[in-house]
Assembly symmetry: C2
Homo-oligomer: 278 residues x 2
């Protein structure tokens, strides 16, 4: 497992960390096998696997259980905590301190509510401050959701400018309160990403943006690229693709999927308690 210091170092503006998001032990182990040094969790994947709605705080127990399962398996993990599962900064700080104690190197906290509205930035900053005080070495990624809760119409420069101002104002408050970096989810133009990266005195994290490579996002100043729920949704999609291959008699996944054989997949279940040496 990586140290929190090493995880922090992996956030390099210009040479971004690609952080894939897992939702269970199998997906996390597979990502590590594929070369990921760190995995994030995706609250959507955890919610759907648990049969509850994402973003509503209903996944606290499942999120903690997944976090424990991954750290116990020797996987370096940063955990998506939605809005912290509480409006009480002390309760959120206790939760994060507990996770940090179990080996988690980072968390995400978001400043929008289950109803999809931005919360008061001062209240969110208080959460950030409490968490930063309780778990000072942990990487606290403050997610600010102006572009997420209210996606901008294509080509609306005025709307983008408003959301950029809102995002920068909120991000600075959270950094002042002790956040380690800022995560701005949503579909963002190159110009917006460059402005945010330039203005923020901390690592900028964005979602993967279709049509822009990791290198291109690095060129805009991004320090971390997350996949969010994308891999979970891709896994669902693969079921339909392969079932159709089976119906037609095509070699499953031949078009785009390098499907591991049984033995390779089964080996994921044999790892116990420690990362594989490779």
């Amino acid at each position: 497992m990586l140290s929190t210091a090493r995880f922090r170092e992996l956030h390099r503006a210009g040479d971004p960390l690609l952080l894939p998001n897992a939702w269970d032990l199998a997906s996390a182990r597979w990502l590590v096998e594929q070369g990921a040094e760190v995995v994030g969790t995706t609250s959507l994947g955890v919610a759907v696997a648990a049969g509850v709605e994402d973003g509503t705080g209903a996944t606290l127990v499942d999120t903690i259980a997944l976090s424990r399962r991954l750290t116990s398996a020797g996987i370096t993990v940063t955990v998506d905590l939605e809005s912290g599962f509480s409006e009480d900064p002390v309760a959120v700080a206790e939760l994060v301190a507990e996770l940090a104690g179990s080996g988690v190197v980072g968390v995400n906290l978001e400043d929008s509510s289950a109803e999809g509205r931005l919360v008061d930035p001062a209240r969110f900053a208080a959460k950030v401050a409490a968490v930063a005080a309780a778990a000072p070495t942990l990487y606290l990624n403050a997610r600010t959701d102006a572009f997420w809760v209210d996606p901008i119409p294509a080509a609306s420069r005025a709307a983008a400018a408003t959301r950029t101002r809102e995002t920068l104002d909120r991000a600075q408050r959270y950094l002042d309160a002790g956040a380690s970096g800022v995560f701005v989810p949503g579909s963002l133009s190159d110009g917006t990403i460059a402005v945010l990266a330039d203005a923020l005195p901390a690592p900028l994290n964005v979602l993967a943006q279709p049509g822009r490579s990791l290198r291109e996002l690095g060129g805009l100043g991004v320090a971390r690229v997350s996949t969010g729920s994308l891999l979970f949704r891709a896994a669902l999609a693969s079921l339909g693709t392969v079932l159709e291959d089976v119906r037609r008699g095509a070699t499953p996944g031949a078009t785009a999927l390098a499907i591991p054989d049984y033995a390779t997949a089964a080996a994921l279940g044999r790892d116990t308690g420690a990362p594989s040496p490779g």
Copy 2:
């Protein structure tokens, strides 16, 4: 949910049931959304998600939990029980009766050990008899593993003939003991499939065979085609495919995956307690 009687009717030689195998609530719900009337479980997926080795009987608790979760969500399910998690026919029968009571329409039981050896057919037939007596309406799929534990060298007709005889002998014992159908996993030639389907007085279940369509397998007399661990492995593969798309800046999955959007995937977590009307 389908009745056991309706599930039984779906096994039609010549017009096979395509039975996709799920490993958690999300994959099962997605398969139902894609049109599956019934889903199976895959012991490999359950094992890897739980961090234990497949085929060793270590997944009893997780298998029961998954089964409950799926039936509670209104999903019609047949459960892979490996070798029944016990060598005591009474214990296996009690487990299956409990599952049948919770709404499971079928189970798979296999006649090979965790070490990959075929067990004594008389002992396995005793398990089948106990289960059939304890859960008489449930569809009991007897899996017989001559082709699975010792895959035949390509083009070895003598080896195929030996395994075919072993398979037919075992299958008939299990059917005499009360099994509903026979599952012969492994890579099988068209000739072998046709001989097995012709000789067996009960529905024949095979794995998806690369290069042969569902219709072609039906033409050989197959009544049910399972995906086994294939979909679970395809889901793992999709992570690598999409991560590479992200690195390169390609539209994720554009080559072969119809990736659902966030809202579609999130809706899977909102279903509670009953199947969707559609």
